[in-house]
């Protein structure tokens, strides 16, 4: 009985003696982990802490203390480090919106795609009277306003381009038919002179369904523009088109 009492007393006194030590051990582990350039292993921590400290216990306690805070103690690759709490990760990223203007070439190409869709690259080039660089089409695809529709059912099976719903949204058009015709353009002062009776705008279609002369894109068309670029290789003089802004 007496022995058990003695044991209990000893346990209590050890607890009392240990308390400040444990608090200090927590402080040391905290500082070491904070200042470390890389996550620390239990062994590394042990080697740098006062002897006789149960590092695992200290880490467990520290982890608990930080669990609900803005910074958590986490284990990565078996080593320990402080990291921003996951739900606050958004604090570590900032979105910077960078306004960018479409180049004149891109704007013209976009306009032709909008009015003449579905339209092939060759047709765009015919209207513009100048070769269309790959960069211009890439840029337009990047804006999300232009998409690859399908392939025209003619020799060479060229890709057809069209606009997206995002295009209508960006330019505030209810439907693609809301694009003004030539007479309207003239009325609005965009065009000058007499419009000959033969000259008119085709009816554009941005319908999801393909036209009769369009085939669906192949499923393996992961990099459609590479094929396009190959095709466009020889006969055109790219130097004449400036897409500087992109």
């Amino acid at each position: 009985m007496e022995k058990r009492m003695a044991a209990a007393v000893q346990a209590i006194s050890m607890d009392v003696a240990e308390a400040p030590d444990r608090a200090e051990a927590l402080r040391i582990a905290e500082a070491l982990l904070f200042a470390a350039r890389e996550p620390l292993s239990v062994e590394e921590l042990r080697s740098r802490m006062p002897e006789g400290i149960a590092v695992e216990t200290v880490l467990a306690e520290l982890g608990e203390q930080y669990a609900s805070r803005g910074v958590n103690l986490v284990q990565v690759g078996g080593k320990w480090t402080f990291r921003t709490a996951e739900d606050l990760a958004y604090l570590l990223a900032r979105d910077v919106v960078e306004p960018r203007k479409l180049s004149r070439a891109a704007m013209e190409t976009l306009a032709i795609i909008a009015y003449h869709q579905p339209v092939t690259r060759a047709e765009i080039e015919e209207i513009r009277g100048v070769a269309t660089s790959k960069g211009t089409l890439d840029t337009l695809l990047e804006t999300g306003w232009v998409r690859l529709r399908g392939r025209r059912r003619v020799p060479g099976r060229p890709v057809t381009y069209g606009t997206t719903p995002l295009f209508l949204e960006h330019f505030g058009l209810e439907t693609i038919d809301a694009l003004p015709g030539l007479e309207e353009l003239k009325g609005a002062g965009f065009l000058e002179g007499r419009i000959p009776p033969g000259l008119s705008v085709p009816t554009p279609s941005d319908e999801a369904t393909l036209r009769e002369d369009e085939d669906p894109l192949e499923e393996d068309l992961f990099e459609p523009l590479i094929g396009e670029a190959d095709r466009a290789g020889a006969p055109v003089d790219y130097a004449q088109e400036q897409d500087g802004g992109e």
Binding site: R94, V96, K101, L110, I127, E142, P180, G193, I195
Partner: protein, 268 residues
């Protein structure tokens, strides 16, 4: 003075506490003021109550010793020695009647002030150096988590841009289609037919223009009618059907049927 020795090592050793005779080691001092401060400290009194006279004497003795050992002394040590010698003499002699010069006591006070100030700033430097320094005593986060800047492109284009871009290209096509307005030309054939009728009528000299008036209802027709008529006239003259007369340049052109004349002649 070719010293390459850092201050701390040599100077402290040379100026060990209780050393009665000061080693002549100018290298250890950072200039005459530093030397003076060290000498002042040796008076073991508060710098406020220091004897500038005693200090000057010690400094001069130090310099004397250095010269005896033929040590090369920097000029500013000698300048200071000269100044202290002057100060010493001023301190020993009664002040001259009030002049422009500051009194010897003022000069001594100013020197004492400089020494106290140097000591104070040295103490401040020491306390500054003792502060917990970043990277030596305290540490920042070893692995900061940098803020990631995500760039988002926002393409800017207005409907106006779109429409003007389209119109620009259609305009090009409009411009390349040249539509010539149909011009009315009075052909040579027409002119000749008209003039052949005249042959029958112009029995006497007639002004060509007045005959052609009916064909020039519209003013823009005038050039073509005149040109063709003239050509046809000359042709008919060549064929002997008409006679032409003009009195001077730009004067009206007169025409007359040659047929009637020949018939006249025949009659005659």
């Amino acid at each position: 003075m070719a010293a390459q020795l850092p201050f701390e090592d040599v100077a402290l050793a040379e100026r060990a506490e209780g050393d009665p005779t000061l080693h002549v080691d100018v290298d250890g001092f950072e200039g005459p003021l530093d030397l003076l401060l060290e000498l002042a400290r040796r008076q073991k009194v508060d710098l406020h109550r220091i004897s500038i006279l005693a200090l000057a004497e010690q400094y001069l003795a130090f310099i004397e010793e250095a010269r005896r050992l033929r040590l090369e002394l920097a000029a500013d040590y000698l300048v200071m020695a000269a100044w202290l010698a002057y100060l010493k003499s001023r301190l020993l002699l009664p002040d001259p009647p009030k002049g422009d010069q500051p009194s010897a006591a003022d000069l001594a006070t100013a020197l004492a002030f400089r020494l106290r100030r140097l000591e104070a700033i040295r103490e401040a430097a020491k306390r500054l150096a003792e502060r917990p320094q970043l990277g030596r005593d305290v540490f920042a986060r070893g692995a900061p988590e940098p803020v990631e800047i995500r760039k988002q492109l926002r393409w800017e284009a207005t409907l106006y841009d779109l429409l003007s871009a389209y119109a620009r290209q259609r305009q090009k096509q409009l411009n390349t289609r040249i539509v010539m307005p149909k011009r009315h030309v009075w052909s040579l054939v027409e002119a000749r037919e008209a003039l052949e009728r005249l042959v029958g009528l112009a029995q006497d000299w007639t002004v060509l223009d007045s005959y052609l008036t009916r064909y020039m209802a519209e003013p823009e027709q005038r050039p073509t009618v005149l040109a063709s008529a003239l050509s046809a006239t000359l042709e008919l003259v060549k064929e002997g059907k008409l006679a032409v007369r003009q009195e001077r340049a730009f004067a009206p052109i007169w025409v007359k049927s040659e047929i009637s004349r020949t018939s006249d002649m025949a009659e005659a």
